[in-house]
Each structure stands twice: as C-alpha cells, then as structure tokens.
C-alpha cells in the first residue's frame, strides 16, 4: 500500500492546511464555475472565435475543468483539486460513451421512422429499379427469421447437451478441453465462421449459396454463447434438489430432465434469447454464404435468400437516395427486433429467475 500515514499537520502537496477543519469549497462553487465557463464560451462564440455547437461544448467543458481545478487548488489544496479533476474526467468518460449510443439510436429512428409503413413490411425488392422509391423488407425478414430459427434449432440442442455434460457429468481432460475450446469459439470473428462454411459446405461439398448455409455459420457463432450461459444456469441449481431426486431412486438422466432442467429453464431461455439477438444482427457470414436476393424465397435449403443485416449493407452500397432510406428503415426494423429479443430475455430473467421463486 502506498498510502502514506498522513499526520494532520503535514500536507503532502499544496499549501492549504490539511486536517479535520481544512477549508472546502462551498456546494455552489462548482455549478457557479460551470455557469461562468458556459457564459464565457457563449461570449467567445458571439465574437466569432468559435463556430458550431461541438466547439462550444468542448470549450465550455475545458474552461469549467480548468476553472474548477484552479479554484479548488487555491482554496482546498492540490490533493482535492486532483480529486475534482478525476471526478470530472470519469463523468466525462461516461457522457462520452453515452453520446454515440444516443446518436446511433436517434439517427436510426429519425431516418427510419417514415419507412415504418405496412407497405415497407409487406413488399420485397423484386423488380425495384435503382431510382424507384419502392420495395420493402419482407423477403429479408423471411430470410432472417428462417436463418436464425434454423441456427437456433441446431445450436440449442448441441449447446444444451454440451452444457449438461460440463455441468452434470464434467470432469477429466475432455471437459477441460471442451471448456477451453468454448472460450476459443467465443472469440472467432464472424467473418471466419462464414469463411469456414464457405470452404467446407460450398467450395468442398459443392453446395449452393442458401439460407441454410447462413444458418450453419450463425450456429457456430451461437454455440459458445448458449453453452456458456446454460452451463452457468445449470450450476446455479442447488445440489439438494439433485440429491433429493437421486435419493428417491430416480436415475440420473431423469433427474436432469425432470428436476435440473425445469429449475434452470428460465435462465436457459434467457441465454438462448440473448444469443439469438446477438446473431440476428450478423452480416459478415451471410455476405459470404447467403449472398442476398431481391425476391421472396421461403425455402432456406434452396437458392439464395436475403436477411435484414444483409439488406442494410446492400442498400447502403447502392449509394442512392432511396436506397439509403430503405437502409435506414431496415436498420430500424432490425434494431426493434433485437431490442424486443433483449427485452424479452430480461423480462424472463427478472420474473422467472430461480431465486425469485
């Protein structure tokens, strides 16, 4: 520990007396300094030295920081001045992190809201020319729902069984290897998952681009998330429940199916929904193996499909006024879908978590 024992009479820095009765700034001092700084910044803009809101905010923030630190250093001493500077920096960091979130959400809503019409949700992009203000996302919505649904159908059983293996049967080198590689899988870039399906399924086995190929790539991205969350949930089940069941002579597998899984069901569903929300927005793998298609294709096993993220990417790439509008509209629809999944997961987690029963 590098905290020096501080006797009341020896201040480490600064000239202010340090002790139980040292001087502190009154509560109104900081707001007053900030108001003064904003006033100076506005006055500077009046003289034409500053342009734009961004510069105004920046200068006001800088002036207030300098002001507060100077005032604090003269009244309270250097240590408190440094403390106030740190508080200001930490608060600024938080606001700085909120800024892009608010900006992204605002831009998506503001630019996409006018596309939220029944027309946009029930039309495909078939035969929509580059300069037409027409078309919709129906085909992409069909693709996303089918691809994500198929990926869920494949990833959940494998992931859940793996989690059961790790939590209920685990132990030994195999379980350790699986745990390690689940971690490794979490870090696989989504484009690499797409390249794998491309190289194995399409180039080596000679299959065609299809929604199912996309689902395979999404499966690889979903699997580790499902395993990790399900394993954690299974480990939360109290051992007394297992012991009670086994003591009644119920075999292990029936104990797992009838006692352990139902107890952790809500948590597992939450994890699955978060995983679905995560992969529903994936673009890179779909770009490689689904390819995008303007017409409605209900069959994920044959022919190219589209997907919401893919449509955003492709509409943006067209670089025309109406295609940007469609890209924003699709982005809003995709965000609404993902937020709904996230919200649903949180609601399930909140109301049905084992500890609340």
């Amino acid at each position: 520990m590098s905290v020096a024992p501080a006797p009341p009479k020896a201040p480490p820095h600064g000239s202010a007396p340090f002790g139980l009765h040292h001087r502190r700034l009154p509560r109104w001092a900081v707001p007053a300094v900030v108001v003064a700084a904003v006033a100076v910044a506005v006055a500077l803009r009046g003289t034409g030295l500053l342009s734009g809101t961004a510069q105004l905010v920046l200068v006001a923030a800088l002036l207030s920081a300098v002001g507060v630190v100077t005032v604090s250093a003269t009244v309270e001493g250097g240590r408190h001045a440094r403390n106030r500077l740190a508080t200001a920096l930490v608060g600024t960091a938080f606001l700085l992190a909120l800024l892009p979130l608010l900006s992204v959400l605002w831009e998506v809503v503001a630019n996409g809201i006018e596309k939220m019409t029944p027309y946009f949700f029930t039309r495909s992009m078939l035969n929509v020319g580059p300069l037409d203000d027409a078309g919709g996302l129906y085909h992409a919505m069909v693709g996303t729902l089918e691809q994500v649904g198929l990926a869920t159908l494949i990833a959940v059983p494998i992931g859940l069984l793996t989690a059961i293996y790790l939590a209920e049967y685990g132990g030994g080198p195999l379980a350790r290897a699986v745990t390690f590689f689940v971690d490794v899988m979490t870090g696989i870039p989504s484009i690499v998952a797409g390249l794998f399906v491309l190289s194995a399924w399409i180039l080596t086995l000679g299959m065609n681009f299809s929604g199912f190929a996309g689902a395979l790539a999404l499966t690889i991205l979903m699997l580790p998330i499902v395993v990790r969350s399900a394993e954690e949930m299974l480990r939360l089940v109290p051992n007394a429940l297992r012991e009670a069941s086994l003591a009644l002579g119920v075999p292990r597998w029936r104990t797992i199916l009838k006692v352990v899984l139902p107890t952790s069901f809500a948590g597992i569903i939450t994890g699955v929904m978060l995983a679905v929300a995560r992969v529903a927005g994936e673009t890179a793998p779909l770009l490689l193996v689904v390819f995008g298609f303007d017409a409605i294709n209900f069959n994920p096993f044959q022919g190219e499909q589209s997907a919401l993220p893919l449509m955003i990417y492709q509409e943006n790439a067209k670089g025309l006024e109406f295609s940007f509008e469609r890209a924003w509209g699709t982005a809003l629809a995709l965000i609404l879908l993902i937020m709904a999944l996230n919200l649903g997961a949180r609601i399930i987690a909140y109301f049905y978590a084992p500890k609340n029963r």
């Binding site: 520990m1 905290v3 734009g52 240590r79 440094r82 508080t87 930490v90 608060g91 600024t92 960091a93 938080f94 992190a97 909120l98 892009p100 979130l101 992204v104 831009e107 998506v108 630019n111 069984l161 293996y165 049967y169 132990g171 379980a175 699986v178 590689f181 490794v184 899988m185 979490t186 870090g187 870039p189 989504s190 484009i191 690499v192 390249l195 794998f196 190289s199 194995a200 180039l203 699997l223 954690e232 051992n239 297992r242 075999p251 597998w253 199916l257 994936e282 673009t283 890179a284 770009l287 490689l288 993220p309 955003i312 990417y313 943006n316 940007f324 924003w328 995709l334 965000i335 993902i338």
Partner: protein, 325 residues
C-alpha cells in the same frame, strides 16, 4: 470417465453414483457426444481453412507474407497480407487507444461514482451499445459520422501535420481514424463491462482503509482499486482487441480501401483483412475465394493468440471469468 473432480460445485458423491441403467448410458453418451461434436467443429474450422488457404498460397506468385497488393485474379496471381494485416492491427490499435481510457472511466463511474440505485440501470444502458448490430454502426458511421469528422481531419492535418501519423495528403474522411473511432465505440461495452465486474470485486476493506487514512476518492481509487483491477482491465482490453481485429462490415462500410502499408491515418487509405474479404468477395472466382480464405486463416490465428492470452490472464484470476462473455 467416472473420475470425480473436487473443484466443481457438484460434490463428488453425486457423480460417483454408478450410472448403470440403459437410459443413463444413452443420455450420458449423448451429452458427451455433443461436447465432442463441438471439439470436432473447432477442428474442422482449422482444417478447412488450412486446406483451402494453403492451396491458394501455393498458387501465389508473390510472397504471401510480404506482398502488399491483393490481386488473385491477375495472371500470375499476386496477393499478400502485408498491407491488410498491418491495417487490421493499426485500426484496432486506434480503437484501443480511444476506447480503453473511456471504458475504464465508464467502469469507474458505474462502480465507484454513481449512486448504487442508478448504477445498475446505467450498466444496462452501456450494455445496449453492445446490442446494436455492427452493420447499423457501419451505416451510422458512413452516413452520419464520416461527414462530421471531416473538419476534425482538416484541423488535425493543418495543425499536427508535421507528425507523420497526422500527415494529410489526400482529401476525405473515410480513413483509418474514422474506422478506429467506429471500432472504439463497438468494443467499448465489452471492456467497460468486464472492468466494471473487476472493480466491483475490490475488497471493501482496502477501500475503507484508504478512506480512513484520509485519502480522497481519487487517491483511494489509485491506491486500492486500480492495482487490484489491473489484470482484469488488461484482459478486458484484449477481449476488446479480439473483437476489433475481426470486425468486418462496419470497417468495410466506413473505410475507403487502398492496399498499402501506411501510417497516415488521416488519408483515405489502408485496408483490413476482414474488410478486404467483404469488399472483394462479390467479384471473386474460385481461386480468389481460396485466397480470401487464406487471409481469413491469418485473421483466425491472430485473434486466437489475442483471445488465448486474454483468457490466460483471466484464468489466473478465476473470479473474473463470470463477466467475460
């Protein structure tokens, strides 16, 4: 396989019970099979990338590691990862330089500054950043951020242009810097979430001891919180780095690519492995696709190394593992 493991929460008497019934053997075999299947998938990913990638590298007329151009359709095919691997690392480093300080600030704010009651909702709000898909960040980046960063580019180029990093010799703001900013926003939530978990685990006694000695809040954080949290923050940063290295569409949409090794982050040039795959895939023939797979193999190896080191640091402090999704 009926060995009991003492370190799991499930106690050994439960596990050593003989599973004799047919149902038990089947169920056990199934769940074990799923685990083995998962290992198989990982092995298959490595194997297929290796086979297809190596066959492409053999057909390369240039040195795959040192060539800057990416022209697999030329005759003879000439392609290499020097420029795109450099760009991948450069954009990720910019993202790290911007994101890590802010993320640590956010984590400190939520764990030690905000009142308890609003700290948890604030954590959710930051997690929302992670729920926004990368393609939406890409769209926001190119339509909103790129025009608004234009003045910053010109200002930096005019005033700091004497530093090679900030030399601006071409117009436009679809640059490595802008790509780095978008990446920073995308990796901020994971770094902030993991750091926050670590900061919350600092022993109460350490903090109270520092405060009792008369330390200000900032001195308490420097003396008690930051030293305790350092390994966790490092591994959080590396998890974020892993994400940034592999990010595809956001970079592909924002960056105006040119395959050169260049430190001029204010010029619209440079490219990343992932963005190069997304951009070149559309007009690639079979051989060019194999070449892209070869570059994907390199990306796979780089992210593997970064993530494995992050996990090793995490594993040394087991208690952080819960937060590292």
């Amino acid at each position: 396989m009926s060995r009991a493991r003492p370190d799991t929460k499930t106690t050994s008497p439960l596990r050593s019970g003989s599973s004799t019934g047919a149902g038990d053997r089947v169920f056990r075999g199934l769940s074990r099979g799923a685990g083995i299947a998962l290992l198989g998938i990982m092995a298959a990913i490595a194997a297929f990338l290796l086979i297809r990638g190596l066959s492409a590298i053999q057909g390369d007329s240039a040195n795959f590691l040192t060539e800057q151009r990416w022209a697999p359709k030329d005759d003879p095919p000439t392609f290499g990862i020097a420029a795109i691997a450099f760009g991948t690392v450069l954009s990720s480093l910019i993202a790290m330089a911007l994101a890590v300080p802010v993320a640590v600030g956010v984590a400190l704010f939520i764990s030690h500054y905000a009142p308890r009651r609003i700290a948890i909702p604030l954590g959710y709000v930051i997690d929302l950043l992670a729920a926004v898909p990368s393609v939406v960040y890409g769209l926001w980046g190119i339509r909103f951020l790129v025009p608004r960063l234009e003045p910053l580019h010109q200002w930096l180029g005019a005033h700091l242009g004497f530093i090679p990093l900030f030399e601006k010799s071409a117009a436009g703001s679809r640059t490595m810097l802008t790509a780095g900013v978008v990446l920073a926003i995308m990796i901020l939530p994971i770094i902030a979430a993991v750091s926050r978990e670590v900061f919350l685990q600092v022993p109460r006694d350490h903090e109270e001891a520092a405060l009792a000695l008369g330390a200000t809040r900032w001195e308490m954080i420097r003396a008690a919180v930051l030293p305790f949290g350092r390994p966790g923050v490092i591994s959080a940063a590396m998890l974020g780095l892993g994400r940034a290295l592999g990010e595809t569409v956001a970079v592909a949409m924002v960056l105006s690519p040119r395959n050169v090794i260049s430190l001029h982050i204010l010029n619209p040039e440079g490219n990343t492995i992932a963005a190069n795959i997304a951009n070149s895939f559309g007009e690639a023939d079979d051989f060019a696709r194999d070449a892209l797979i070869a570059s994907g193999l390199v990306l796979f190896v780089i992210t593997l190394i970064v993530n494995a080191s992050a996990r090793l640091i995490v594993a040394r402090r087991r208690e952080f593992a819960g937060a590292a999704i």
